[in-house]
Symmetry: C2
Subunit: 223 residues, 2 copies
Amino acid sequence: MSTFFYVTTMLSTTPRTTLGRAKHRALTGREDLYAVLDAGLVCHLGVMVDGWPMVVPTGYGRIGDTLYLHGSTGATSLRNADQVCVTVTHVDGVVLARSAFSHSLNYRSAMVYGHARRVEDPEEHLAGLRAITEQLAPGQWDATRKPTGKELAATAVLALSLAEASVKVRQGPPNDDEEDYALPIWAGVLPLHQVWGAPEPDPAMTAELPVPAHIAARAMPAR
Amino acid sequence: MSTFFYVTTMLSTTPRTTLGRAKHRALTGREDLYAVLDAGLVCHLGVMVDGWPMVVPTGYGRIGDTLYLHGSTGATSLRNADQVCVTVTHVDGVVLARSAFSHSLNYRSAMVYGHARRVEDPEEHLAGLRAITEQLAPGQWDATRKPTGKELAATAVLALSLAEASVKVRQGPPNDDEEDYALPIWAGVLPLHQVWGAPEPDPAMTAELPVPAHIAARAMPAR
């Protein structure tokens, strides 16, 4: 039989984070949540606008058990962020089964529910922006020009507690029906990797500058 | 000055698909929408559950101007899919600017709003499942065991019109403030690619079968 597995990590006990489906294994460690969040570049932020769901891809950062989001002070998604669901998904491969029905994806996914709080404290505002920038581009906060007062005023930062969250992970080969294993059909996984390419210098650079070590180092290994 | 650009494709004229921000260029071709959707493996489906947004990663397929989604007949997301927003996002790179404020992502993203219709017609039900399987794994529908009546009955298929949609694309180098271009700070783009790995045969295969050509061919080039 196949050695595929799901891991569902329930970090809270509300019905919507207590996964009822495909619950092959349950953990409660917050490290699973941190690992999925910290490996991502964008989340999908779900809000309600005029009674309709709206799903927006956006950057984020994490400090401890708080997720930070940002955007223009006028952005529709941020003005409607009282009740939110934030989802981060990594696709690790396509699961090729013997039956069409058993096709699947290998993935890691985290869902966070909560009331997003508009950050007013200047220190937390700056810390949130730093976390968001560093999530996107580690090392860049210290290497680049810091935000001006005008830039800070134009940027809203939201804070979302990680108290209500769940993680779902599927890894491994297909899980076909018992009788399908005898079929002469190739089955397995086609893995999918995210790989950084070589840094592309901005043609508008006014001087010949070397690629900084923290950027070059990131481009070297596969993510 | 930099040659970065946003493309915002508005395929409908409802306020929520008429992009008000970063509207550097607007197109109306449906090909932009098809290109973003057809290149994806998962969408993020936004629904409302008990008055709260819920964002779920899930597979999908497209036939003409209809998007198909599927899931267990009991899935919470599908039982609440009257009003949905479906978003597909590709991250193409991190935009490393001279100022922290101007950091960004290069990406392609599509948003579709609509009422998801539960597919009842057996022919459309099967066509939808075929489209979803082929989106995940081209060529696999014909190469694998087709769904049984029991499997079909356990799987709900939803149809979503692509009538109300928007596409947003950012590509190119950073867009720094005029006065920042003179700063001695490296700027550019760190590209991100999705690359298929070598197919991993299921250890539970009962015979030594070669990797089918349609799978091997997909693993060869970078996506």
